[in-house]
Amino acid sequence: MSILDRLRSLIGDSIADSLIKPSDDLWVRVKPEAWRRTAQVLRDEMGFEYFCFLSAMDWMPSPFGKSEDDPTDEAPPRDDTIKQGYAGGDTRFQVLARLYSLKQHVGIILKVDVEDRGAVDSWVPVFAGANWHERETWEMFGISFTGHPDLRKMYLPGDFEGNPLRKDFPLLARIIKPWPGIVDVEPLPGAADDEQEGAVAE
């Protein structure tokens, strides 16, 4: 029985979507209310005992781009539609995590939809190692985790405002400095076109 079938038989109604890429990975999106239970089931029933990582995704395209725009050029059209990746989704934010089975040597990537500044259940009771990962996700995306024992900032100073990994958080280092890639070649005086100008001067 494949991993997905087994998972479906255990928490069937909680699986929102899934995707298998053969000889690659398995993505499963679960419903928010089943987030902790999924971890519990995977660990206890299916041998996914190894906690790999937990993080989040902001699927909104960055409104700032790469700050590599020539102001003289016309700005390229920007697509602002939010488009989720593998295994779909309905919200701008998703929490994703990966578990690994040391017996079968397969991993599974779990995703869950979460509202902007919303919350999902914490995994700390299931995987103690999720503690720091959830703290990081909380400070970087503003997603909170209910049941987390100690949701404090991990990297940033205590009075830091904003959540840096959200796409609407500007990367100031790229904004305060002008892009050095702007073409700065002075044309020949009084000429619009190089070739013609050459001929005239002759």
């Binding site: 790999c52 990966r98 970087m140």
Partner: protein, 396 residues
Amino acid sequence: MTATTSGQVISDRQQLAYIASQAADARVNVELETEGMTLNIGPQHPATHGTLRIIARLDGEQVIWAEPSAGYMHRGYEKLTEVRSFPQVTALINRIDWLGSFANEVPFILAAEKLMGIEAPPRAQYIRTILFELSRIANVTLFLGDLGVQLGAITPVFFAFRDREYALNLIEAATGGRFHPNFDRIGGLKDDLPKGWIDEAKATMKKMKQFCDTIEDLLFGNEIFQIRTRGIGVIPKDVAMSYGLSGANARASGIDWDLRRDQTLPMAWDKADWKVITHPAGDSFARCWVRLQETREACSIVEQLVDNIPAGPIMAKVPRIVKVPEGEAWVSTENPLGEMGYYVVSKGDTGPFRVKIRSASFNNISITPWLLKGVFVPDIITILASLYFILGDIDR
């Protein structure tokens, strides 16, 4: 804390330390008892090689609780990757684990290649694997020397710096960068090996094996070292797994798991004959010992592979400006510090949409609040040294 209630065997010493720490906890609340002392170890402290800060509450010299506080070196790599193209990200992620930089590039490039559906030619795979193992040697060599310093022996670190230089010279001769090779490209490698490199590599591997012997005699064989590390900081198997410990730390707890062996990647590890080293004890000594043996194994992998590098190109056919197709990919490899993985999300642009960097030290160090309970101040240092972290790998 969680996860102690499992059926795992915990050493007597740790059990005693636990009881003592519980007692210490209780005593603080009782009137007329000694007041605890909060000791800030770091961010500027000789033992934290980097800027990790450990806040420890002490009763005498015993730790009641300890909490690492990271972030003094957070560089926001995950954010920076969003505005960079794939080759630029490669240059950046060199700096995550700066002692074994080449190993950082490999999983990222493999993830990008996976998304593009291409594979590096066999010659590139071999050279990648060799350089990967060389960076492991360079990394762990310094660990072995630094271990001595943390325990008060000053000589091993000089031996380590002396002999690591040979490995670094080798990396530099091939890639041009001592610490930050930036040699991997999507589809292969930047350049081929220079002439005479293979012979040099063989000679160097002999020296590195000799270094391992020296350290084993000078440090590991020393009775003082043994009583300082044996039975200290014991991590049982299930705790290790729930905290996501990887690499030598996991293998020292008896978890027989090595990503070089247990997954199929377009790399050349399966072409060499080597074994995964495990140790059942789970204590500081086991972690150090496993790393020492792994360095030897890495030397033998390099020795075997350099002889069999197949001829051929080192680059697959890749367009000049790389645009990676839309998709998501996860690739992790067995880096010197443990499992290092990248979750790369691409939207079909020249740069990634998001990169989640799963670095080994982050998980490895997150166990410290659990592990440091009840130990003595000098043991904080040995435990941290044996867990082996690179600050860039925690903070990214």
